[in-house]
């Protein structure tokens, strides 16, 4: 009789992966130990002798990495292949090759679709709610805490089962249909519009240059001329008349340029923002030409 992995073991293996995939992350095998742990119930069910179990465990604690939420497809595929191997189909080497081949694409899809698009989008919607509902700002985080983990668990489990059932070829065929790209494009457009709105709402920056002079001003109440400080040239007002919030927009585009074209690290950009903040604050305090003076 052919050996199969029971539904209970599948769920057990998935849960061990879903909750503990990052527990022992390190440079040598990345998520290798966690992958080995999630395979252990499967291996116990498929193989009876100590030697077979040891051989199977050893091939699953080697180097492995992925974006673990979308990457559960790799676990599904590996379980499917391990099941076939226990029934005499395939080779241990082909399992290794499949795992290594999946590292790149699943990391790329997981990082770009899930981590860099879905998570920020869901956070954006939640923080917009918190921002709008000033009397009940807790609604945003509570919504995110319910929707994100629950939705991801269900999706990750579905992807895991798809990997197990469809196998390597089935998954590759789906990725080739292009349906994913159309969804990505629509989500990207939503993201862009919202990010545009958030930039205009939340990024604040001013150059604080406000040249002043002392002049005689007619005071209507007392009908006399008195000395008063008036603004001659306010750079921020001038720029905002040309295009509202152009300085915050320019700062955002500078961050974009440094990050994506010059490969600056976020922490370095943060340092630069700190330096710029110090500079405009100092300008603001210079007597005669600063906005705060």
């Amino acid at each position: 009789m052919a050996k199969t992995v029971s539904a209970r073991t599948l769920r057990n293996s998935f849960n061990q992966w879903f909750f503990w995939n990052g527990c022992s992350q390190q440079a040598e095998t990345m998520l290798g130990m966690a992958f080995g742990q999630s395979m252990s119930p499967v291996i116990e069910e498929l193989y009876d002798s100590k030697e077979d179990r040891a051989a199977a465990l050893k091939r699953h604690i080697t180097l492995f990495n992925t974006e673990s939420q979308v990457g559960s497809v790799c676990n599904g595929i590996a379980i499917g292949m391990e099941e076939q191997l226990a029934n005499g189909i395939g080779t241990p080497e082909s399992i290794q090759e499949a795992k290594v081949a999946l590292i790149g694409p699943t990391s790329a899809i997981g990082d770009s679709l899930w981590v860099a698009t879905i998570i920020p989008l869901l956070l954006t919607i939640s923080l917009t709610l918190s921002q709008s509902l000033t009397n009940a700002p807790w609604i945003g985080p509570v919504l995110y805490m319910l929707v994100y983990p629950l939705g991801t668990y269900l999706l990750s489990w579905k992807i895991f089962r798809t990997g197990y059932k469809a196998g390597l070829e089935g998954v590759q065929q789906f990725m080739a249909t292009g349906q994913l790209d159309k969804v990505m494009e629509a989500v990207t457009i939503l993201g862009l519009i919202v990010v545009g709105g958030l930039t205009a709402t939340f990024v604040n920056a001013s150059l604080n240059l406000d040249i002043k002079t002392t002049a005689q001003v007619f005071d209507a109440a007392t009908e006399t001329y008195t000395d008063a400080v008036i603004s001659v040239f306010n750079l921020d007002n001038l720029l905002n008349n040309v295009f509202p919030k152009i300085v915050p927009l320019a700062l955002t585009l500078l961050v974009y340029y440094l990050y994506s074209k010059k490969n600056w690290k976020p922490i370095a950009i943060m340092g630069l923002i700190l330096v710029l903040a110090v500079i405009v604050t100092i300008i603001g305090y210079i007597p005669g030409i600063g906005a705060f003076s």
Binding site: F19, V115, P137
Partner: protein
């Protein structure tokens, strides 16, 4: 902050870190996000309203904080729990909301650097666990494979996160309760300016994920002017965005949808 409050916040700093016991979906990607972190600090310290005032700007500034290939230079969980706790502990010393946000970013800067260092220690020490896992695999011990991963990894992870976090929180608490603390006005102006400029960090980096062709710049600018010229709030912009996204998706599929 009472000792219990400090312990609870330090515990959540550990839980919200990458690779904690509750898994990255519940930990790093949920408890570790600034929006959720500030809410939890607010609950612990009994001031959700103020916590969310700093939580929203922190979330925007760190919206793009992702970890491709596990490279954590900036530890978001450490940064935002410490940042919100700093703002709440020192809120008596400042008057305005921008100043409060500035305090939160200052605390987040400190917390993030410590957290990044702690992550480095965790990541390096975990390498030794591989020898343990190899020995268990050699024996075919399927039922013990969780030990190096969960037990070993988490013992290191917990110590590297909980203990330093507690020390930082105690220091912030001491600063907040010392009556002589008088923050000068120019410093408040400086950190307020920094806080309001930091939103550009999140927006600029998220743009580099989203923009793939030139037309995308026009769409981004459309969202921008909906606020500056048309005065829409962010919720209204999101609704417009959803409508446009649906239209684009339908057009992409060449459906007779409209």
């Amino acid at each position: 902050m009472s000792v219990l409050q400090m312990i609870l916040i330090a515990l959540f700093i550990y839980l919200g870190a990458i690779g904690s016991i509750v898994g990255n979906t519940i930990g790093w990607y949920c408890l570790g996000r600034p929006l959720v972190a500030s809410f939890i600090v607010g609950l612990i310290m009994g001031d959700v309203q103020t916590a969310m005032l700093v939580g929203v700007p922190l979330q925007i500034a760190y919206l793009a904080n992702v970890t491709p290939g596990g490279a954590v230079a900036w530890d978001l969980s450490y940064a935002t729990y410490i940042g919100t706790a700093t703002a709440l502990a020192l809120k008596g010393t400042v008057a305005s909301t921008p100043a409060l946000i500035g305090l939160a970013f200052t605390g987040a800067g400190l917390g993030g650097v410590v957290g990044g260092t702690m992550w480095g220690i965790h990541y390096s020490l975990d390498v030794f666990l591989n020898r343990w896992a190899e020995r268990l695999a050699e024996q075919g011990e399927t039922r013990k494979m969780w030990m190096p991963n969960v037990l070993g990894g988490q013992a290191i992870g917990f110590l590297a996160r909980f203990v330093p976090a507690l020390a930082i929180l105690a220091a912030i608490n001491a600063a907040g309760s010392s009556s002589g603390l008088n923050i000068p006005g120019w410093f408040i102006t400086g950190i307020s300016t920094f806080g309001s400029m930091m939103a550009a960090l999140g927006m600029g980096i998220i743009l580099s994920f989203l923009v793939k062709k030139n037309i995308h710049w026009a769409i981004f600018l459309a969202g921008f002017v909906l606020v500056t010229y048309f005065g829409l709030n962010t919720m209204a912009v999101a609704v417009v965005g959803i409508i446009v996204a649906f239209i684009v998706y339908a057009a992409d599929n060449r459906q007779e949808a409209f």
